[in-house]
Symmetry: C2
Subunit: 490 residues, 2 copies
């Protein structure tokens, strides 16, 4: 595959001089048009030609308007990055809609290098390829224009450059020697990566980069064409309100199986709560010292008592060791990115208990039912979510998800009671009553959500919450159990 | 000062039950009103009572609407944080206008603890107090409401708690023992910190926190009063267009002293450029390996050739080792913060050459001349900028600033030439011609800027740029010289 590009393609000085002025004007105009468009552009500049990537990045800086692009040349990961799943460093810097980001090396080049130098085994190589490929498909499905370039030079050309380097080339260094040394093992791995991350997702542009003029013009022209083509086909987004996906699972009535009749007398509750909170205090302190992170997700019907449950948790945890993230409507910056972006950004440093008061499941609950997300969007969200959580788990993070369940009659009682408590009144709006009319739609969405995203490592707990005491004790118990398990297996 | 608070203040259970419901309603209403206000609220929760701070934070989470507050309980700094000046971790998380952030411990508690445990000497203690105090004054001057609480308990109470802890209190741990052990040395240091960070800036609320009800209601009520008072006094910002500050220095015509007559023949330029770029490549690679950061600031007249100069730099530096930040109009998120916020956020990981194409000096240049900043805003910007750069320098960062100077005739020539080059045409707008009419206003602003912010460690270089070759060589030479110096002294 790579060898096939070694065709000696060049661009003459005259042709270069003729083409570039027009290309530069068009590029800058495309950048302006992009700035008001509703999609981001992600350019990946990778390859076995390190110097070529360098030079092309410089050329793009020169030809384009630097105020409307951002380049990310990632250095070895920091400890903040090492404390999160591997793709976090890409998520945290992703361009928003209308913006352009250039990734130098990208995630894929590192995978190939790590495998070529035997830093990782076959299994991890395959897993990282799979996560990376899904990452790209996720961005593309969300509307991103992803343009990937692999800059290749032949082994002979590598050798020629290195030989010459001794004499006068200031730019060649150890890294180029390393590429040459691992060339024979590296190229088949690169080809495999290129193949596996092209199908179903954005394709790679593989090019011979021996001739600088050919290379720079090719890359610039491809970026230009990508943007202009995309701008031309732009059409208003159709908002489909279909609430049931084409796949249509969720036949099993999950919620119906929750026994809401449990109650817990006040006194026994007090004793159990105190005991569980003492245990939780110890376990979370130990987890913090051992840098073990937990992610707890809370979803549930309005007035099911999420807030109260969460406070019973945080009261037992040191303020430095937890973080509550309450999810409201997205900010403009959040709306300008893939919906998972803001959750990636919230991932905490190692050793934290991160509590989500509502979460990414909004995509397949409220956004699905109210039609804020298109059918194709919420349908593919199940896979995106499973992969996201799988990355957390593989990174050693404990993931537990809770659905607080109650019946309609109990909910109505609580709405009424809230309206009579002055400081709880703000929690009840007309919308809450309106949502009740959609009870069955929500029920179907919850059923499907649980069915599709309940996994061994990131399980749902359906918490009977008609009695708040039962709910609190149940959640505390589940969290403690999870923390103990995590302590044993880590 | 602290002892004076040990008055045994309490709040009875009955009074607490009577007061809290109204307080909670008022707090939540204040939060809603705040969300559309034009100032941020920063609450600092610090003190020698670690458990009290913990408990109060929990209470605030319970009483307020968690979706409209964010709490920051900082853990030991990460390497990403250690690679930047100390206050970066606060800048990176500052709430925007209309938002509320609670800082647990804040910067000040750490300073006291570090000094009490003799991790830092007297000089560093004084310096960190000074930076911290100016940091707070900067935020307040920019409109932030800063509410600081120091929660104090007497030595006797500390002792009592620790004694009791052996028996049953699960919450007490080593950190509380450490506070007690260093109590006698710590309290005078705390008092000094409290004094030095109260004058001229936001005052501390010092309170005895032995009684939990008294403490929580006091803190909540003070926050509420702070916000409502501030909301009531809100008045539209007056936009003053005065372009000369009251202090009125800048009598020395700095720019007039720049000799613009230098020229450099093409051949000598080529030789010098190649030599300097080779040196720069080596020096920046060495700096990257030694984790030495540089910050290069470029300002200058339109068409003075900033872009060309910057490209001559980046062409010689490895893509992983530099970052160009082109400053355009602020984004909504940037506009919602102090103007220095976005520059703090851009501070890179250690070992990077960070190049600003325009910078924080916009505050005292375009914003001053065009009246985008009020007179008091740009007048105090000189101090804020000097302190910012001083923090960079103290952190070991090389700071060099360049003003690219040319005369009006040369500028006009270049405008005309640009209009005739297709891919440069976009660089010329009517605004550029309009700015020429303000030449003298800008000249005065530049003179004052250089006079007030030219320091030994963060010096300006006035670069004669009538001949672009002269400018490029001059900048490269200055940067190389700076890097060499930094290598020697680090």
């Amino acid at each position: 595959m790579l060898e096939a590009t070694e065709a000696g393609q060049t661009l003459s000085e005259a042709a270069f001089a003729r083409q570039t002025p027009g290309l530069r004007v068009a590029l800058i105009n495309a950048q302006y048009d992009l700035s008001t468009a509703d999609f981001p552009v992600i350019v990946v500049l990778a390859g076995d030609d390190r110097l070529g990537c360098n030079a092309t990045l410089n050329t793009l800086h020169e030809w384009m308007d630097a105020r409307y692009l951002e380049a990310f040349a990632l250095r070895p990961p920091s400890d903040e990055e090492l404390e999160r799943p591997r793709l976090w460093r890409f998520w945290r810097t992703l361009p928003g809609r209308g913006q352009l980001g250039i990734y130098f090396g990208g995630w894929s080049q590192q995978v190939v290098a790590d495998r070529a130098r035997r830093k990782i085994g076959e299994r991890q190589f395959a897993r990282r390829l799979a996560h990376g490929a899904l990452f790209e498909r996720t961005l593309v499905a969300d509307g991103a224009l992803v343009l990937k370039f692999w800059l290749h030079v032949s082994k002979r050309e590598h050798k020629r450059r290195l030989k010459r380097a001794g004499k006068r080339d200031r730019a060649i260094d150890d890294r180029d020697w390393a590429i040459y040394e691992h060339y024979d093992r590296g190229m088949p791995l690169a080809e495999r990566m290129l193949r596996e991350t092209s199908t179903g997702g954005p394709a790679w542009h593989i090019l011979e980069s021996t001739d600088a003029r050919f290379r720079d013009v090719f890359v610039a022209r491809t970026i230009l064409e990508g943007i202009t083509t995309r701008l031309a086909e732009r059409k208003p987004r159709r908002r489909s309100r279909a609430r049931r996906g084409p796949a249509g699972t969720g036949e099993r009535p999950v919620l119906a199986g929750v026994d809401l009749s449990f109650t817990l007398p006040r006194k026994r509750y007090k004793t159990q709560l105190a005991r569980l909170q003492t245990t939780l205090a110890r376990l979370t302190r130990e987890a913090a010292l051992a840098s073990r992170t937990s992610v707890l997700v809370f979803e549930g019907w309005d007035a099911a008592g999420k807030g109260g449950v969460i406070r019973r948790l945080t009261n037992a945890i040191d303020a430095r060791d937890y973080r509550v993230v309450a999810i409201a409507a997205p900010t403009p910056a959040e709306a300008a990115h893939h919906y998972l972006w803001r959750f990636w950004r919230h991932l905490p440093r190692a050793g934290t208990v991160l509590i989500f008061d509502r979460s990414w499941y909004g995509r397949v609950l409220v956004e699905r039912v109210e039609g804020f997300a298109r059918t194709d969007e919420w349908c593919r969200a199940y896979d995106e979510i499973n992969d996201f959580e799988q990355q957390l788990v593989e990174h050693g993070i404990l993931v537990r998800k809770f659905w607080l369940h109650l019946d309609q009659a109990t909910q109505l009682e609580r709405f009424r009671a809230r309206e009579e408590t002055p400081y709880k009144k703000y929690k009840i709006t007309e919308e809450d009553y309106r949502n009740r009319e959609r009870w069955q739609d929500y029920e179907a969405a919850v059923d499907e959500m649980v069915t599709r995203t309940h996994t061994k490592d990131a399980p749902w707990t359906l918490v009977p919450s008609n009695d708040k005491r039962v709910a609190r004790v149940e959640v505390l118990r589940t969290v403690c159990k999870g923390l103990k398990q995590a302590a044993r297996t880590s």
